[in-house]
């Protein structure tokens, strides 16, 4: 085997470096036409401040330009705003391939007791992706998401439960989580 064949193998392997983000259901509460705003915190509303950020990548690990990331979640009491756009954003990721929002940690609700954020991502030349983000700190996972990730069949893939960093913010602790999205080519 020549060095150039080896290099070709290595490059091929490198191109497939990332697994596409797993799909999940859209859920009944999607509302289209959300504003393109990175700040979802409603002033005067209580909640644990949360920053969600991430990159939009292809399976070769390159940033995807021109993606649209729609995300939405329930309020602290587990209620979705279906009449308006509280805790809903449609972010135009543009060329940077990165997104981020400031919001509150979603609440729990009876019918789906794990905290989650819904995503609908589309980008030119890529397959649309519907998925959900879950939080490793969620009491639903009983402190051990590796063991309890599939409890009651709610979460379809362990990879969708992301670590949460807690840090001292101005006046109160805050949470931050990173959720990179990997799209497949169309």
């Amino acid at each position: 085997m020549t060095a150039s064949t080896l290099l070709a193998y290595w490059e091929e392997g490198h191109k497939q470096a990332l697994h596409p983000t797993p799909h999940e259901v859209l859920g009944p509460f999607f509302r289209k036409g959300a504003p393109d705003t990175p700040n979802l915190r409603v002033s005067g509303e209580a909640g644990f401040p949360l920053r969600i950020s991430g990159k939009v990548l292809n399976t070769a690990g390159q940033k995807v330009a021109g993606a649209t990331v729609e995300l939405w979640h329930a309020d602290q009491n587990g209620r979705y705003d279906v009449q308006g756009y509280r805790y809903r954003a449609k972010l135009n990721v543009r060329d940077a391939g990165e997104y981020g929002v400031e919001t509150f940690m979603p609440g729990h609700y009876n019918d789906r007791p794990a905290q989650h954020v819904h995503y609908l991502i589309s980008a030119p030349g890529h397959k649309p992706l519907i998925t959900q983000l879950y939080f490793a700190t969620d009491p639903f996972f009983e402190g051990d998401p590796d063991r309890h990730w599939n409890k009651r069949g709610i979460v379809s893939h362990r990879a969708l439960i992301r670590p949460v960093a807690l840090y001292e913010g101005p006046g109160a602790p805050r949470a931050a989580t990173v959720f990179d999205i990997v799209l497949e080519k169309a």
Binding site: H23, V25, L26, G27, P28, F29, F30, R31, K32, G33, N77, G78, R79, Y80, V82, Q83, Y109, N110, D111, L120, K127, P128, L129, I130, E184
Partner: protein, 297 residues
């Protein structure tokens, strides 16, 4: 009057003779006399069957077998009467015309689990057409009476109406901002009623596919709709976004004026509403071991 059932009742439909059928959580269909509440018969699909659906107008129940075939039971006799080929793809959310001349289901698109495809086949299992049906799952499938038009609503908020004969897209409704959970054609096929997360019942004129009327006043999201046999009244049932167990209302509408004629209470998210064939009774199920029957006389 309240019919009590051994098992929680989901979808309901009246049969032409006036009996009421309900699909229960234990997988069986039950048929009651809606005036006395007496159980007339229980019809059980085979083990492993899924997506049971009531075809009230022909007194039948259809269900998908594990092998993808469509099995049909007569709800008057309880007998399994037919077995049809069904769509070739693995589908969910079975819909059919009363005589099973057309059968539809939705499958996950090959190559992208976020996309859905609808498949419409005839009674012999021959494909009429396959069509893209949106992202994230289909919420309702509906045939117009006579089967000439087929509509599919997606959780991505879009609704598509097709000519069932050739798959021509007649209308792609994109002006509803939220998902549609209930969708039903009027008995004469002239109107398509839709209702969902924004609490509005919309009536679409199928002659030109314009929005003919909005019925506003349901306090909750809408999870169930039914047309009266004369096409002049509609029933809508609610669904609270807080939890499925929150009490909600059932509304009787004048479809022509949009006026609320009556309001009834439901203990929790309404699964199904129905009018008796003579239009004198309304029935409602909400996944409890009972069916509410109200006299409209």
């Amino acid at each position: 009057m309240t019919i009590t059932a051994e098992s929680e009742v989901g979808r309901i439909a009246f049969l032409p003779g006036g009996l009421l059928a309900g699909l229960c959580a234990d997988g069986k269909a039950r048929v009651w006399d809606p005036r006395s509440g007496a159980l007339k018969r229980t019809v059980a699909p085979d083990k492993g069957d899924s997506d049971a659906t009531l075809l009230g107008a022909s007194s039948q129940m259809a269900a998908l077998g594990k092998d993808g075939s469509v099995k049909v039971w007569n709800l008057e006799t309880g007998e399994k009467v037919r077995r049809l080929a069904g769509p070739e793809h693995r589908v969910r959310g079975l819909a059919a015309t009363p005589e099973l001349s057309l059968i539809a289901g939705a499958s996950v698109a090959a190559g992208n689990p976020s996309e859905r495809i609808v498949h419409v086949v005839d009674g012999a299992g021959r494909s009429r057409f396959d069509a893209a049906a949106g992202l994230g799952g289909t919420s309702v499938l509906a045939f117009a009476p006579g089967g000439s038009v087929f509509a599919v609503a997606s959780y991505d908020t879009s609704i598509r109406a097709f000519n069932s004969r050739n798959g021509e897209l007649l209308r792609h409704i994109e002006e509803i901002p939220v998902a549609t959970f209930a969708m039903v054609f009027s008995p004469d096929g002239r109107m398509l009623a839709t209702g969902g997360a924004d609490r509005i019942v919309r009536l679409w004129d199928t002659a030109n596919w314009s929005l003919a009327r909005r019925l506003e006043g349901q306090p909750e999201m809408i999870s169930a709709l039914a047309w009266a046999p004369d096409g002049k009244r509609l029933l809508s049932g609610g669904f609270s976004e807080l939890t499925t167990r929150q009490p909600v209302s059932v509304i009787l509408w004048d479809a022509g004026t949009g006026r609320i004629l009556r309001k009834f209470d439901a203990a929790q998210r309404v699964d199904s509403v129905a009018f008796s064939p003579d239009g004198s009774l309304a029935a409602m199920s909400c996944r409890r071991k009972e069916v509410a029957v109200w006299s409209l006389a």
